[in-house]
């Protein structure tokens, strides 16, 4: 399949790509340790760490007690003193238990200490709805953490980026929070061999278009691509920007697209109110790209409700492909 002399690109799942990144990091850097609940012989709640414990042992792949606050804090303290911990939360919802260490310690230590230290910790958060796990195991809390200066927050939407962003996070001196969408874990896609970085703070233009810009995050980037393909059939050419990093946001890529298309649709799974799309919208509205807008900005986000259990309700509270198609068509046709 690789007749050309290019680096090997195989198809891996999103979860396998993350595991490969951790495998590379563990093999190359003694300072790297994985910490989390049931990431050892169990393989992780979503089987992301898999059998890494067999390869690297329990001192490198550490099962923690069910102690999110303590565990996250240990990772912070370890990062502060020379290790490169990757801390896995079983569900991103459990970040709420560890907020003290994430928000008050990891994010602020460098600043509070006048730049004397860095906290190179990586935290992984399986996030999002669609698994029937209901209100306490389905949230998208990236905007919570994105609100905190000192943190970096990324949301890979492809296997390639899941690996590249994790490796970039490990080489980053500051705390990086990775929100992985649970429904993407099984997604297959090409993943380059070996070590590479997907740059933090850089969005990806997934599809080029001229009629409107869809700025989406995480799984919504995939849904936006599907919607854009659908729209293409009726002659509406949507540009799809996968934000990839929520903080720091790739201002230039978004603004350039909006200057070109004059229309902006933000699509994100987190609750619409005060969410990532609000920031994207404000960023555009405050910039010179405002002058290029030819319609009000439209946001599609999660409903102002907890994620419900019933599968139809669960689908209804987050944007789906037909919602994106409809909103994008209305926007492109000047109906909004």
């Amino acid at each position: 399949m690789n007749a050309e002399n290019t680096p090997e690109v195989r198809t891996l799942s999103y979860a396998e790509a993350i595991r490969e990144a951790m495998d590379i990091a563990l093999a190359e850097d003694e300072r790297v340790v994985l910490m989390g609940e049931d990431i050892g012989v169990y393989g992780g709640a979503f089987q992301v760490t898999g059998d890494l414990v067999e390869k690297y042992g329990e001192t490198r792949v550490m099962d923690t007690p069910i102690s999110e606050l303590g565990g996250a804090g240990v990772a912070v303290g370890a990062a502060l003193t020379g290790l490169r911990p990757i801390f896995e939360f079983q569900f991103s919802d459990f970040a709420t238990l560890a907020m003290e260490q994430i928000v008050n310690q990891a994010a602020k230590l460098r600043y509070m200490l006048g730049g004397a230290v860095s906290v190179p910790v990586v935290m992984r958060f399986p996030a999002g709805s669609g698994t029937g796990a209901a209100a306490q195991h389905s949230q998208s809390l990236e905007a919570w953490l994105g609100h905190v200066p000192g943190l970096k927050v990324v949301q890979p939407s492809t296997p390639e980026d899941a690996k590249g962003l994790l490796l970039a996070a490990l080489d980053d001196p500051d705390p990086v929070m990775i929100f992985e969408h649970k429904l993407l874990y099984k997604m297959q896609g090409p993943v380059p061999e070996g070590r590479y970085h997907t740059p933090i703070g850089k969005a990806a233009i997934r599809r080029v278009g001229s009629d409107l810009s869809i700025v989406a995050t995480s799984i919504m980037a995939q849904k936006a691509i599907a919607a854009a393909d659908e729209l293409g059939k009726s002659g509406v050419e949507a540009e799809v920007i996968d934000l990839r990093t929520v903080r720091p946001m790739d201002r230039e890529t978004v603004l350039a697209s909006v200057r070109k298309t004059g229309r902006l649709l933000c699509v994100y799974e987190g609750v619409k109110t005060l969410g990532v799309g609000a920031e994207v919208s404000a960023m555009v509205a405050e910039s010179d790209a405002f002058d290029f807008l030819d319609a009000p900005i439209v946001r599609l986000g999660g409903a102002d409700a907890p994620i419900p259990y019933n599968p139809e309700l669960e689908k209804a509270v987050v944007p789906q492909v037909p919602d994106i198609v409809e909103a994008a068509a209305a926007l492109a046709q000047g109906r909004t």
Binding site: G262, F290, D291, F292, L293, D294, A295, G334, R335, T336
Partner: protein, 416 residues
């Protein structure tokens, strides 16, 4: 200190009035006594004159209902600095007359209406930029977006249209040679054009004839028309640019409705009004025929609908139908008309109502209608009050001026 222009009390029990139309734009110099704006109350419509000379600013938007005594605009001396309105912006009670928004549009009427007209034009940032670059006054652009919002495409269309050869402003105006006295302005109907007056013209040649092509019709450019008010405003501007002290108005069907709307807001300029099978006097209209004509791309699909327009179908010969089809060959024109039909006659219903205007008419008015009209029921004519002359013709359909030009011509000539 600028001079306040208020909503005058013109009626005993009048509490508020609605601004129907401004005769001047923000930034324009007006003289004391100039007609400044039209208002409508529960009982009457009237023109209000400028209370002083000055440069007009802070206009309350057209369609805004304003309590008596409240300011509707301010007049500034030349060189006087124009800041925020000297008092609170006109407090609007409601915003009627906006095109029905889609259900998701939840406008904030009070807020929207409180914006002074000078800033109250709805336009996107990109449209504003294009207008600035193109030297276009946004007030001259009809917005096609929700709530009449001007979008980049609307400005671009106008720029394109103004780049194309068009005399006397945006709309195509043609004149017949010869004739003296008060000119006659001819307003054709939907999906027609100025050429349709040809059979009637011999009877009217003694007067100067001025034919206006509606936008998206005949020689006129395609302009976005979101609703009847926008179309009427366009005709009103075109009429203003003609700069006539007096004129007779003759309008057919949609042109009749426009003539009526024009007479309503320019009563002092209108000598007489002739409405032939006018629209605007009731909800019914044959939507299928409108759709059929605008959609037709071939002679075969057009001719049956043309025949519906008349009573004696034999007058729609193949030659006539072919000529009409040729005039309609441009897909852009057909698309523009389809869009206009959707805006003016959604779902086969007349989306505008001029019965109140009909009741207010001051100029001598005649209504001519064929009793076999299958497009608009002739009984709409019965809305007219006693001062309006009513002429009903047996065995005539929707096109009296084509079906019986001599009879109609004779009748008109007697009055014009």
């Amino acid at each position: 200190m600028p001079t306040e222009v208020i909503m005058p009390k013109v009626d005993m029990d009048m509490a508020s009035g609605t601004i129907m139309a401004w005769h001047a734009e923000a930034g324009q110099m007006v003289d004391a006594g100039d007609p400044l704006f039209d208002i409508e109350t529960d009982k009457a419509a009237m023109e209000v004159e400028a209370p002083a000379s000055g440069i007009l600013h802070h206009l309350a938007p057209e369609g805004t209902k304003i309590a008596i005594g409240e300011p509707v605009a301010w007049l500034y001396a030349e060189g006087e600095e124009v800041g925020a309105p000297p008092s609170a912006a006109p407090a609007a009670e409601e915003v009627p007359a906006a095109p029905a928004p889609k259900e998701e549009a939840a406008p904030e009427p009070a807020h929207a209406a409180a914006i002074p007209a000078a800033e109250g034009l709805r336009a996107t940032p990109r449209a504003r930029g294009l207008a600035r670059e193109g030297g276009i006054d946004l007030a001259a652009v009809a917005g096609t977006g929700p709530r009449g919002r001007i979008q980049a495409g609307d400005v671009a269309a106008l720029l394109k249209a103004s780049a194309a050869p068009a005399q006397g402003g945006a709309l195509s105006i043609t004149r017949a040679k010869g004739g003296t006295g008060t000119p006659v302005i001819l307003l054709h109907g939907f999906a027609s054009d100025a050429a349709s007056w040809a059979p009637l013209e011999p009877a009217l040649r003694h007067r100067p004839l001025i034919r206006i092509d509606l936008p998206g019709h005949g020689g006129s450019p395609t302009l976005p028309i979101p609703d009847f008010a926008a179309l009427a405003a366009l005709i009103r501007r075109t009429f203003t640019e003609l700069d006539l002290a007096r004129a007779h108005l003759v309008g057919h069907s949609l042109g009749g409705a426009l003539a009526l709307a024009l007479a309503d807001t320019r009563p002092r300029n209108i000598e007489s009004l002739t409405l032939i099978a006018p629209a605007g006097l009731g909800p019914e209209i044959d939507g299928a025929a409108l759709t059929g004509i605008t959609r037709a791309t071939r002679l075969e699909s057009l001719a049956p609908w043309l025949r519906r327009l008349v009573h004696d179908e034999t007058i729609v010969t193949d030659g006539y139908a072919r000529a009409v089809m040729t005039a309609r060959a441009d897909p852009g024109l057909r698309a523009a008309q389809a869009g206009m039909a959707e805006a003016l006659f959604p779902d086969g219903v007349q989306a505008f109502d001029l019965r109140a205007a009909l009741a207010r008419l001051q100029a001598p008015t005649r209504i001519l209608w064929g009793r076999r009209d299958r497009i608009i029921p002739w009984r709409h004519a019965l809305e007219a009050k006693g001062a309006v002359a009513l002429h009903l013709f047996e065995n005539i359909g929707h096109l009296p001026q084509i079906e019986a030009p001599e009879e109609i011509g004779k009748l008109l000539a007697a009055h014009l």
